[in-house]
């Protein structure tokens, strides 16, 4: 009986794993139709679709955690799913708070890709190392995840700012000009997300540095992952300082936000998978 339940549960998780990218795709399709075509049906269904997608995603995370006896943080692809979920939730908060729905297509594109890669490559890990059951790790991962979600959102708003900036400068008054919110608001949203992201990543780094020496003695501070993380942190720190003290604003800050995000993704994927020694526990 219990084996049937396990088979069914695993089948259910696999089903959700396949369904989730499709749901995210349907959601961004509705947001895209609303943005580019202003289609009424799309405008009506986009929010319920997003709600349904996030509900399924919640069920997926809970089911996976219960079934495999650990939260989905043991591989970069499991983390991708959590990042997709966190960005989705953060976007819902932003949409409810600002009442602006026109940026949804661009923001939700990221959860779609994160979940797609997660669904394609996530594998069951037979044995979970004991170190992945630490409370400090949970704190480290949570703050890092929220931080990544925040800087992802910041980068998307930065990217939208740059698109609108370009269109206004070059007198192209098309759909981007018509539908996006104004430059000042995009900059403010990007900056707020950057500040959140920076604080959370700082916490993640500090917790990581406290926790890491406890679990391994082989830690090297020249490890590419650690080095990359510090560089990213320094870029964001210098950007925020330049804004505060040097009065940086507008395009420069947005370029910095997009650049910081690109480096972060590079650090999370390529460096983490191929060069780092300590950030892989499986």
């Amino acid at each position: 009986m219990s084996s049937i339940f396990i088979v069914d549960m695993r089948f259910f998780i696999t089903l959700l794993q396949i369904l989730l990218p499709l749901c995210y795709f349907a959601t961004i399709w509705a947001y895209a139709k609303g943005f580019f075509r202003n289609e009424r049906v799309a405008e009506v269904i986009k929010r319920p679709l997003l709600g349904l997608t996030l509900l399924l995603h919640t069920i997926y995370i809970v089911a996976r955690t219960l079934e495999y006896f650990h939260p989905p943080i043991t591989s970069v692809f499991e983390l991708f799913s959590l990042i997709a979920f966190t960005i989705g939730l953060a976007y819902v908060y932003i949409e409810l708070r600002t009442k602006i729905t026109s940026t949804g297509y661009f923001i939700l594109m990221l959860p779609f890709f994160f979940q797609l890669f997660s669904s394609m490559f996530t594998k069951e890990i037979p044995e979970i190392p004991e170190i992945l059951r630490s409370h400090l790790l949970g704190f480290h991962v949570t703050s890092a995840l929220l931080g990544y979600a925040a800087i992802t959102i910041s980068a998307v708003y930065g990217f939208l700012y740059l698109m609108l900036y370009h269109d206004i400068k070059s007198s192209q008054f098309g759909v981007i000009y018509k539908r996006l919110p104004n430059l000042e608001m995009l900059e403010r949203m990007s900056f707020t997300a950057t500040v959140f992201g920076f604080i959370l990543l700082t916490i993640a780094i500090i917790v990581g540095l406290i926790w890491l020496p406890r679990i391994t003695e082989d830690i090297s501070f020249t490890d590419p992952k650690l080095f990359g993380t510090i560089v990213i942190w320094l870029i964001y720190a210098s950007g925020l300082t330049a804004k505060r003290l040097g009065g940086w604003q507008g395009r420069r800050m947005m370029v910095l936000s997009v650049f910081g995000f690109t480096l972060t993704i590079f650090s999370m994927t390529i460096i983490n998978m191929f060069f780092s020694e300590f950030h892989r526990f499986y």
Binding site: N38, R40, L164, I168, K169, S171, F173, Y177, K178, P181, N182, L183, E184, M185, R188, G247, W248, Q249, G250, R251, R252
Partner: protein
Amino acid sequence: MNIFCLGINHRTAPIEIREKFWYSSDEIRAFLPVLKQHVAQECVLISTCNRTELYYLPQEQSVYDGSLWQMLASQKNASNVVREENFYSLSSLNAVKHLFNVASGIDSMVLGDVQILGQTKEAFTIAQQSRCTGIFLHRLFQTAFHVGKRVKTETEISEGAVSISYAAAELASKIFEDLSRHTALLIGAGETGKLTAKHLVSRNVKKLIIANRTRQRAEELSAQLGGLVIEFEDMAQQLQHVDIAISSVESHNYILSTHDLHRIMKLRGNKPLFIIDLGVPRNIDPSANAIDNVFLHDIDALNHIVDNNLAHRKAEIPKVQHIVMDELIQFNNWYNSLQVTPTIQELRERFESIRENELKKHRHHFPLETQSELDTLTKRIINKILHTPMVNLRNGTGELEEDETRRKVHIIRTLFGLDKKKTE
């Protein structure tokens, strides 16, 4: 459908005639009772700068009264300037469709004009207060407002600026989140510049500063728009402190070079600066647009916005026409439902369904052998209740009493919720 529309608008009469026909609210209030006394059972008069239209139901079953335009003309002492050709007269569904087109903004001089819906509502309110509306015009205008609302939410016919000054103000709102935190500088006192400043003021710009070569003209503008006047020579220095600048001066040389703007941007800590150059020849070196956070737009760019928006509005017309047709059909269905025979039929069905439902619920309280009698008895009660109102309704279908009959039918349909049942 005995409804007429008599009017003049921007297509049939030049401004010299239209302005003679403009009725103020007070004039409409005074004129409507006169119309009701001599011409119409129900009437609404809409008067704006581009149209004056009378929607009315004549007192007698008749075609268009050819002398009515003379009555409108003499009321405004305009008999000597206006001719019959300046008027159009529409009847029945054509009049209804015309009102829907007006409310939707596709009949306006500026395609998609949103003001007309408010003006139509105001005209209807005045007519209502003057007791000149009945069930027909009430339903007609409510449907017209519904058309206007649907058009606003379901189409983009009113989207985007269609004047240069409005396009400039809209562009400012695409750069800055809240204009009440930003100061604007008006350089020169050209008409488009003034209109742009006016739009910015209406969007609550924090402060307006005016610099003009002739100070007196600047002060006149300041009196109109409420701004601070500075010397023209101090204009460049002021650019450090303002976020929006509108320039429309006559000058053969640039009044601001790229070098000037580089310097100004440094002084203002690279904060975004939006400059609208309305001058021809241009007032500001166009290459200054390459400077980071400087948004420089000339009159061609603004014209481009206006042309784009107008083209977009035109492309929305079929959607609007679809809504108008949809509502026209529904309105016509409502009108046709005011016939006596179908209403009697529906009323019978309503009573019969109540009877059947109640019998079904309580039939088991009665012995089996009395069931047939119970049926007959309840049917008889229903027939007796309905008999007198039905006879009275049928007796009122003579041609002269047609409108009165429709009123009665309307009341019955409302009281017994027959239209509601249909929509359900």
